[in-house]
Symmetry: C2
Subunit: 106 residues, 2 copies
């Protein structure tokens, strides 16, 4: 599919949706961390938490890629993961919404 | 200083002192981690904990080196840090005790 330029309005919507999804995911990560930390009893638990956080940080960096060339894929993944909903994408070009929806269904 | 062979008795003493120091340090690390985890409020706090644990793990691996060729240095450092006391070394060769004490004073 050829790249479809993002209008200023679309960029604003995408940024808001992207940021909200990231904040929501970070909040979940924090809750999960607090649970793991409270349960940690042994040095091995600590090193497991360290490895887990390193992986989470790397995965987040890869997943939340705000290049416009990647953004449909990113939003499609977030839609698939139900981190965002279709109605969050209201205001985006209709073809783009269809493409994002398609990506989420793959 | 030339290497001085470790007798079986000395090895037993060294292993006990070494393990006790490591366990005591790990217990301190756990308490410190629980404090940091309880205070963590932001994603940056999480990544700081991740980086801190990675550093702690690397430092421990380097510090607790149980090769006999390194053990006087290791025990000297533990003595300097007051992680162990001179009386913990009772039963080691007197010259070795003096060397460890000297290392601790450097």
């Amino acid at each position: 599919m050829p790249d479809m330029p993002w209008s200023a309005t679309e960029k604003k919507i995408a940024r808001r949706v992207f940021d909200a999804a990231l904040q929501s995911e970070l909040a979940d990560i924090m809750v999960d961390f607090k649970t793991r930390a409270a349960r940690a009893n042994t040095p091995d638990d600590l090193w497991a938490i360290q490895a887990h956080l390193a992986r989470v940080q790397r995965d987040l960096d890869r997943k939340y890629d705000y290049r416009y060339s990647m953004l449909e894929l990113v939003l499609g993944r977030l839609l698939f993961e139900q981190r965002i909903q279709m109605h969050d994408l209201a205001g985006l070009n209709a073809d783009r919404q269809a493409r994002i929806c398609h990506i989420a269904s793959l």
